[in-house]
Amino acid sequence: MTEAVSYRDVQFAYPREERLLDGVRLDVHAGEVLLFMGRSGSGKSTVLRCVNGLVPHSTGGSFGGDVVVGGRSTRSYPPRKMADVVGFVHQDPEAQFVVDQVEADVAFALENLGMSPPAMRRRVEEVLDALGIAHLRDRSPASLSGGERQRAAIAGALAAGPSVLVLDEPTSQLDPQGADDVLAAIGRLNADLGTTVLLAEHRLERAAPLADRAVVVDAGAVSAPVPTAEAIAGYEGAPSVTRLGRLLGWHPAPLTVREAQRFGAPTGLERPPPATSPAPGAPLVAVRGASVELGRHRALRAVDVSVAEGEVIAVFGRNGAGKTTLLRAVAGLVSLAAGVVTIAEGRRAAYVPQDPNTLLLGPTVRDDVETTCRLLGQPAAEAADRWLAMVGLTGMASRHPRDLSAGERQRVAIAAVGVGEPDVLLLDEPTRGMDAPSKAALEVLIRGMAGAGRSVMLATHDVELAARVATRVVVLGDGEVVADGPARDVLAGSLFAPQVLRVLPPFLTVEEVAEAIGRA
C-alpha cells in the first residue's frame, strides 16, 4: 500500500521547552481515515501540525527527522508550498476565514495557487457541493452556526484538491448537531473522493466508526496504528457501548449500538433497583409562564420549570430550542416578555457561558478563580484551592488559562463561577471539547454540589452525561417544555436514549450494569 504521509523518526521541542515528540514513526496509508486519540495536552495537535510543516516553520523550536507527504519533505517545503497536497483545519472555526464571504473564502487557496478562472469556478462549485454548503455561498462566515462554519472552513482547506486532509479536533467547539454534520461530511469526503484523513477527536461515538485505524498519543509518544476497534477497546475515553462490551467480554469491541445489539443480552442480570431519587428539598427557583423574545424570535413560550435543592436537571432540545435562553432567564440575564422567575430569598443562581474564554481574563488559572471571590468580597485563597481541586486542576493553578485545552478551560470557567458558592449552578454545554478525565471530574463536581444541598441545571446534548448525573430531565422544543420528569422515565422513552439503554434496557449506564453483575 502506498503511504500518504510518513513520519520518519520525528523529534520536536517548542522553543525553550523540553522535547515533546521523541522519535515519532508513523505511516499513514493513502485513502484511509486515521484517528488520533489521546487526552488534552498529549501532543496530538503537535503531531498533526507536522504534516504540512506548521511545525516547525510556524512554531519555531528544534525539529529532527522528517515528514514526507506526496514526495515532499516539510524540511524544505513550508506550509504555503504544501497547500496543494495538504489541507489543514484547526479547532477554532472563527479564526480560519480570510474573506468575509463563504464562496470567496473557498476560492482563496485557488487564487493563491494561480488556477485559471474557469477551473477555479468549477472547483468552488464542486467543493461547495461536497460539503453541502452551496446555499450558504453568499453568507458571512460570522453569521453561520458553528457546524456550518466549520464545514465552510473544511471547504476552504479542500479547495486546492489536497490528497491529505488534516483536522485537529474540528468539532471541539461545536454543539453535537454541528459536530455530527462535520463528521458526516468528513466521512463522505473520504468515501467519495478517497481523501486521506488524519483526524484528532474526542467525540468517539461518531468519529470511531468513521476511522479505519487509530493511534493513541500520550505525552508525545504515538502508538502503532491498529484497527480502530482494537485501539479503542482499552482506551479510557471509549464510548459507552465499547465499555459495556469490555465489561461483558464481547469481542471484537463494539463501536456502535448496532454492533453491540448483535451480541444479545447476558442472562441472569437483575433489573436495576428503582431510582432512589431523594425527595427534592426546598424550592430554589420557580419559573412561571416565562416567555422571552429575542428580536422577532420567540425563544421561550410560557415555560414552567422549578428547581429544588439537591436536584440535577438536564435540559435537552435541539439548537435554538431555547436551552440557553432558559438558563439565562434563570440567571436573570434576559428580560422576560411575560411570566416571572423567582429565586428563593437570599439564594443566588450563577451561569457559566458556553464560551469559557469570556470568563478567563486573568494571567493565571488561580487568578481567574479568585477574581470572582474578590468581586463578591469573599475570602479568596482557600475557596480557590478547594474549587481547583474539585475540577482537578490543582496542578495547573499557575498556568495561563489560554495555554489550556478546550476541556480544561471549560473546567476553569466552572470553578471560576462555582467558587462564588451560588445555590444554583447553571452550566451551558459544559462537556464541549472535554476529554475523558475532564468529564469524570465534572461528574464528581456535579454530584458533590447536589449532595451539598445546592442544585445544578445544565443545558446539554450529552445524553451519556445526563444518564449518569441527572435526577430530572427537561426537554424543550421550539421554546416550549415538551417533557419534564425523572431522568430515567424521560430518557427511557426518548430517541435521545443513552447507548446502554438501547443495548440493555432498562439499564442507563455501564456502572449500573456492573452493579447488577456484582449482585448476581
Binding site: H57, V98, A104, G114, R328
Partner: protein, 361 residues
C-alpha cells in the same frame, strides 16, 4: 443564485445585484464631501437619512454591516462629549441657558476658565458641528457596511494585493473585538449570580486579555492563510519595481512634508514632484505586471458608472452653490435664527440616494 454551468465563462458570472466596490468608494466620498460642503444640520440630517436608506437597501451580511449602528453611536458619543466640553469652556452670546460654578485652570493646564455661563448659541453651534461629524461617520460606516472589502482589495494592482489583504484582515478585527467586549461584560454579570461587580479596575482587567485573544486569533488566521498557500508565488521583477517605486514615493513625500514644515519651499516642491512621479510609475508598473488570477472578477458595468456619476453630482452642485454664494449651506447660530434651506441644495443631496433607485438591475 442556484443556476450554474460547469465551465461557464467567469465574466458573465455576476450573481448578485451588488454595485462595484469602486462605485461605492466614489459614492461614499461624494457623501462625505457633501457633508463638508454643506454642514447646515438640515442638509446633514438629509445626508444621514439618505445614507441610512442606502444601507438598508444594500447592506451585506458582514461584521461591518452589523457594526454600522455602533459606529453611528460612537459618532454621537463623541459629539455629545464635544458639546459638553465646548459649552463648559466657550462663553458669550445670548440667551444664557444656565450658569455653572466657574474655575480657572492653572497656566500649566492652558489657563482657560471652565464653567460659567452656558449660552444657547454656543451649545447649538457645537451641536451642529458635532452633527456634521456624525454625518461623516455615517458615510464611513455606510461604505463599510455595503462594500465587500475583499472586492476592494481585488481591485488594487497585483503588487499591492498582499499588503491590501493584510490591512483588510487587520481592520476586520475591530467589529469582532466590539462583539468580544459585549460577551465579556455579560459573562461578568453571569458569574456573580446577579450581584453587581465593582467597576474599579474593570477596564484594565479586560483590556489585556482582549488584546491577547486578538493576537491569538491573528496567529491562527496567519497559519490558516499559510496553509492555504498565501504569498506562495515568487515576486516578479514588475512587483519588485512597483514596490520600490512605492517606497521611493513614500520617502519623497515624507521629505516634502518635513521640508514644508521647515519652510524650505523649493526643496518641498521638488520632493513632492519626485514623490508624485514615483507614485505614478509604481501604479503604472504594478498595473502592467501579470495579473493575479481572480475568482469571479467583477467588471465595472454601466450601472456602476451611472451611480458614481450621479453621486458625484451632489458635491459638484453643492460646490457650485457655494461658489455662487449660497448662504444656506452653513448655519451660524449668532445671532440666533433657524437654519434656512434652499431647494436646489436639497435636490443636490437627494442625488446621493441614487444607489437605492438603481437597486434592481
Amino acid at each position: 443564485m442556484s443556476c450554474f454551468a460547469v465551465g461557464r465563462a467567469p465574466d458573465h458570472a455576476v450573481t448578485t445585484g451588488r454595485l462595484h466596490a469602486a462605485a461605492w468608494a466614489v459614492w461614499a466620498v461624494a457623501a462625505a464631501v457633501s457633508v463638508e460642503l454643506a454642514p447646515n444640520p438640515v442638509y446633514v440630517a438629509l445626508v444621514i437619512a439618505v445614507v441610512g436608506l442606502v444601507v438598508s437597501a444594500h447592506r451585506l451580511d458582514s461584521a461591518w454591516a452589523r457594526a454600522f449602528p455602533i459606529l453611528i453611536g460612537v459618532g454621537v458619543a463623541f459629539g455629545v462629549l464635544r458639546v459638553v466640553l465646548t459649552a463648559a469652556t466657550t462663553h458669550g452670546g445670548d440667551p444664557v441657558l444656565f450658569t455653572l460654578p466657574a474655575a480657572t485652570l492653572p497656566r500649566l493646564l492652558g489657563g482657560f476658565s471652565v464653567g460659567g455661563a452656558v449660552s444657547l448659541p454656543v451649545v447649538l453651534q457645537a451641536a451642529s458641528e458635532s452633527f456634521a461629524i456624525v454625518g461623516l461617520m455615517a458615510a464611513f460606516g455606510a461604505f463599510n457596511a455595503v462594500v465587500s472589502h475583499h472586492e476592494l482589495v481585488q481591485v488594487v494592482p497585483r503588487a499591492f494585493y498582499e499588503v491590501g489583504l493584510i490591512v483588510t484582515v487587520a481592520v476586520a478585527f475591530v467589529p469582532s473585538t466590539i462583539a468580544a467586549v459585549q460577551r465579556v461584560n455579560e459573562a461578568d454579570r453571569a458569574r456573580l449570580g446577579g450581584r453587581r461587580a465593582p467597576r474599579r479596575g474593570r477596564l484594565v482587567r479586560r483590556a489585556v486579555p482582549l488584546i491577547e485573544s486578538g493576537a491569538e486569533q491573528a496567529i491562527a488566521l496567519a497559519e490558516s492563510m499559510d496553509s492555504r498557500g498565501f504569498a506562495r508565488a515568487e515576486a516578479t521583477a514588475g512587483d519588485r519595481a512597483a514596490a520600490t517605486g512605492a517606497l521611493v514615493a513614500l520617502l519623497a513625500l515624507a521629505a516634502a512634508f518635513v521640508a514644508l514644515v521647515a519652510r524650505a519651499t523649493a526643496v518641498a516642491a521638488v520632493m513632492a514632484i519626485v514623490g508624485a512621479a514615483a507614485l505614478l510609475v509604481a501604479v503604472f508598473v504594478a498595473s502592467q505586471a501579470s495579473g493575479r488570477p481572480r475568482y469571479r472578477p467583477r467588471p465595472i458595468t454601466r450601472r456602476d458608472r451611472t451611480v458614481a456619476l450621479v453621486a458625484l453630482g451632489a458635491p459638484m452642485l453643492l460646490g457650485v452653490r457655494a461658489f455662487l454664494g449660497d448662504r444656506t449651506l452653513t448655519w451660524s447660530t449668532s445671532p440666533l435664527h433657524l437654519p434656512s434651506v434652499s431647494w436646489l441644495a436639497v435636490l443636490a443631496v437627494a442625488l446621493l440616494a441614487v444607489p437605492v433607485v438603481v437597486r434592481d438591475d
